[in-house]
Symmetry: none
Subunit: 249 residues, 2 copies
């Protein structure tokens, strides 16, 4: 097994299990523990893993430890989070609510990213707040208990006053015919406003939600620039959306 191969395998294991043991890896990859340790050392120097006595932990695991905040993520969400985190550059970003995926992205962000996140989602605000260098701005208004999000005319008009570089849009349903849809009217108003406020819109969704539809439309496909899922961009399920002109990642 080649060095690069081993290191890729280690990263993969960490993505899945959040931890690896030197002793374990040594057996699986058929190299000495010293070699495993050297691999871990290198990855640690590159900031890709957190080396600890006995093995290594994934970065997000360490993030939890450092900040004392916990989010339970499924594997798919982690993949999405990694993809999205790689697309974020310094600037002004509006965040819609979107369950744990949005929060998972916070943990995958480069630790030195200087960006401003604007959101009405309280869990998201708490998650991004943990990051050392990003700024968080909360949109105020009445809280929707269901969505844990501020909603209402005041929130919408506030968002209308923002010019953001990017909108990260967590969604509940998307299909080719109706575009992005949701079942909560108030949330829809907020998301609509956020899309308008941003130059570029990234749509974040677990593949389960693709090709499904709900009562209220948020926007058509043409208003979205990029679709991020946990699937391979070439997956058949996504080909129709690529045909519509969306960037698939």
């Amino acid at each position: 097994m080649l060095k690069k191969e081993r290191q890729a395998y280690i990263i993969h294991q960490l993505d899945v299990h959040n931890k690896v043991l030197s002793s374990n890896l040594s057996g699986v990859m058929q190299v000495s523990e010293d070699t495993v340790r050297r691999d871990l050392q290198e990855l640690s120097d590159e900031g890709k893993v957190i080396k600890v006595h006995g093995g290594a932990l994934s970065r997000s695991f360490n993030f939890l430890y450092e900040k004392g905040n916990v989010v339970y993520a499924q594997q798919g969400k982690k993949i999405i989070a990694g993809k999205v985190a790689g697309m974020i550059s310094p600037g002004m970003i509006v965040l819609t609510s979107g369950g744990t995926t949005i929060q998972e992205i916070a943990m995958a962000l480069p630790t030195d990213l200087h960006a401003t996140f604007i959101t009405g989602s309280l869990p998201a605000a708490l998650a991004y707040m943990q990051h050392p260098t990003v700024e968080v701005i909360v949109i105020g208004d009445r809280v929707s208990k269901h969505a844990k999000l501020t909603v209402g005319g005041d929130a919408v008009s506030r968002i209308g006053g923002i010019r953001a570089d990017l909108c990260i849009l967590g969604i509940n349903a998307i299909d080719r015919e109706h575009g992005v849809t949701d079942n909560d009217w108030e949330v829809v108003q907020v998301k609509k406003a956020m899309i308008k406020a941003a130059r570029k819109v990234i749509c974040v969704s677990i593949s389960e939600k693709i090709d499904s539809c709900q009562p209220f439309q948020i926007c058509g496909l043409q208003e979205i620039d990029t679709l991020v899922t946990e699937l391979d961009p070439l997956d058949d399920k996504l080909s129709g959306y690529r045909d519509e002109g969306l960037e698939i990642i």
Copy 2:
């Protein structure tokens, strides 16, 4: 279970339950109590937990680390929460940040209370949001990572536009000479505005904080109507405040 892993788990537990017991952790994590204690010691040295006899408390219990008694800490908090909950009647209430005590009050509220809580504190918003019949309104602005609270001119001016029936003021320090004080200038601005916005002000404080003082003044004693602590209202420590005309509960 690796050392860091254990420590992350401990922090997680503290986030959820606010306390951990050494004996308990020892069983769950399958290590000796000595090891658990060493973990707690390290976390304590790093300032991440408050180590006490029998286990550890989350940092939000910062008011009691000298007393060092798990049960007492919980009781103190609960006593205050019960007292305050009994004083709340339907209407419009502004809430300042104030650690877990403020959140504990949310759990002690009558389940059919119809009231509106206005706050910039994200943990408080999440806590009150759980209640079936109360409404929560969040004040928007930049988030102070330290206080987990929205702060800034926008927040202050928003609060200025509110007429509330009651202000529940969680505080860091109070003494007869300087009144209510705090060490975070931005938080002070928000609290000042909240006091002005409310007809009646209830000051909530663990007795540890009484007769202490910090750099910035929030308000004088004359601006407070009621002081709630976990102590008996007739306790000597409070007599001076009663002399100043405060209602002690």
